[in-house]
């Protein structure tokens, strides 16, 4: 049984002001195995974030079935950790309180909350900043808190929606390396949405290339290049060429159609 099963997912947004419907996701079928690191790759507006939100339970598919660990997704829940594009931390809580927020909601005592959160503070390299508020930390540090917060819930899957898009190039590289290290250490299932071919190839061991609206899966590419990945190696570039060709094919097709 796959960790995540998407069956015939269709999502139609009704544009009430223009009284027409917008087909955003067109019959998505995808199986994601446990411990996979899957990158959903596609241009802006292809519905990749919508697909992630459907798995998270934030949005409902118009039709189709979404199963996580064999259970139908109906609402958001702590079995699916989400890392948002913006850190989306509670600004009135310190880093450690943000990370342990899930435990607080469950009524766990403060001492135990802090004890368990410290492990994740260390994991994301924020020791010394545990009592800082989000406004006192950089974007990269806040996003680390966001990742630690999702990991602490020990979810069966972690859903990430372009979490590094707002970071500078150097921080982004560091965060990508750290994320891979965390994934290798903790063996969890990650679905990572990105529009960057390089990011997808650095991170994923399965890259799902999506088409422009309406979103369909163009091809799911398995990519098992050993880590740490050398982004200048011939294998990396072969894969990159292949994926770029898929994307280019798509845009020529669109250009001819119009």
């Amino acid at each position: 049984m796959a960790a995540i099963e998407l069956r015939n997912i269709v999502k139609v947004f009704s544009d009430k002001r223009r009284s027409r419907d917008l087909l955003t996701l067109d019959n998505i079928n995808l199986d994601i195995e446990a411990n996979d690191f899957v990158c959903l790759l596609g241009p802006s507006g292809c519905g990749k974030s919508t697909l992630l939100n459907i798995i998270a339970g934030f949005e409902q598919a118009t039709s189709g079935r979404t199963l996580v660990d064999g259970k139908q997704v109906e609402r958001p829940g702590s079995d699916r950790g989400v890392v948002f594009q913006q850190p989306t931390l509670m600004p009135w809580l310190t880093a450690i309180d943000n990370i342990a927020f899930h435990l607080k909601l469950k009524g766990v005592a403060r001492a135990e909350r802090y004890d368990r959160a410290m492990e994740f503070i260390d994991l994301v390299g924020l020791r010394g900043f545990e009592h800082h508020h989000p406004s006192e930390m950089s974007g990269g540090m806040n996003q680390r808190v966001g990742i630690a917060r999702a990991l602490l819930m020990n979810p069966s899957v972690i859903l990430m929606d372009e979490p590094f898009a707002a970071l500078d190039a150097q921080t982004k590289l560091e965060m990508q390396e750290e994320l891979v290290a965390i994934w290798q250490k903790r063996r969890c299932t990650i679905v990572f949405v990105t529009h960057s071919v390089d990011e997808a190839l650095v991170l994923g061991n399965k890259i799902v290339v999506m088409t422009r609206r309406p979103g369909r899966i163009r091809e799911a590419v398995n990519f098992d290049l050993p880590r740490p990945r050398d982004i200048t190696s011939p294998e990396f570039n072969d894969a990159k060429r292949h994926i770029l060709a898929l994307i280019r094919e798509e845009s020529t097709r669109l250009a001819q159609a119009s």
Partner: protein
């Protein structure tokens, strides 16, 4: 590079300007008072119509400490008068804050309350609190109660409006994050929406405390026989404009102090926000 080297030599100068910072604020009030004193002494207006600041200060001093009974029956009674007003302000403000926050959060959070409660409240809102005075007097008589009622009316709506706004503008993604971490409905309200709405609620409270002082004084002028507003209006009948001005100054001072107190509570409660607001640094 230039920006880095520019900063360090500027530091001592920065300290110097800070020392002058306090004095800077006094320039305008000092000029106003000196000009007023000069104008009052010039004799262009009879002293009874425009008392000099020195005369006002004299009246205020006697009112507070009672040294030469220039303020006659008020001499030495300032504390009692101020306390009477302050209690009305506090009573009405506390009631308005409690109900304003409760109703505001309910309306902002639940469609049901928004549909059932909000239209009525929004219809009552444009009615000036002062226009309730006749009803307040026939309902509550002449004492503390009509004053507290008026203060409540004046303070309630700013708290209500800001609470609704605060709850409605909570970042949608914070609510999603809460749901993702397993918050139930009640936790969503107490652990996410309420703290997120606090800055806006405090903004409402600060407007409300100002309205509270305004309406206390108004009520005391017509419906109550004690407090700073009563002294102000009573002195007007006896042509004691020095006491009128002393009362105005007292009200201004106490209103300012109430706001300072509220600001201090806000700064403590919203400590997390301080580094992001412009105000926290500028002071």
């Amino acid at each position: 590079m230039t920006s880095v080297t520019d900063v360090s030599p500027a530091r001592p100068a920065f300290r110097l300007t800070r020392a002058f910072h306090g004095l800077e604020r006094l320039v305008v009030p000092a000029l106003l008072i000196v000009g007023w004193e000069a104008f009052a002494r010039s004799g262009m207006l009879p002293p009874a119509l425009l008392p000099a600041p020195s005369a006002v200060l004299h009246a205020l001093g006697d009112w507070v400490f009672g040294f030469d009974e220039t303020t006659q029956t008020y001499s030495g009674h300032w504390l009692r008068d101020a306390l009477a007003s302050a209690l009305r302000v506090f009573g009405g403000f506390a009631l308005a804050s409690l109900l304003g926050i409760l109703a505001g959060v309910a309306i902002g959070w639940s469609r049901l309350f928004e549909k059932t409660l909000e239209p009525t409240l929004q219809m009552l809102r444009p009615i000036p609190p002062v226009s309730w005075i006749p009803l307040a007097i026939i309902w509550f008589g002449i004492a503390d109660k009509p004053a507290i009622f008026l203060v409540f009316l004046g303070a309630f709506f700013p708290v209500l409006m800001n609470s609704i706004h605060g709850v409605k503008t909570v970042d949608h993604n914070l609510v999603r994050a809460g749901a993702m971490m397993g918050a139930n409905g009640r936790q969503m309200l107490t652990d996410i929406v309420l703290p997120a709405a606090l800055p806006s609620i405090f903004a409402g409270l600060r407007i409300a405390v100002g309205s509270a002082w305004m309406l206390t004084v108004t009520a005391e002028m017509v419906a109550v026989k004690s407090g700073l507003g009563y002294v102000l209006w009573d002195s007007y009948y006896f042509l004691r404009y020095d006491i009128v001005l002393a009362a105005m100054i007292s009200i201004g001072l106490l209103g300012y102090l109430s706001d300072l107190g509220l600001k201090a509570i806000m700064a403590r409660t919203l400590r997390w926000q301080q580094t992001t607001t412009v105000q926290g640094r500028a002071g």
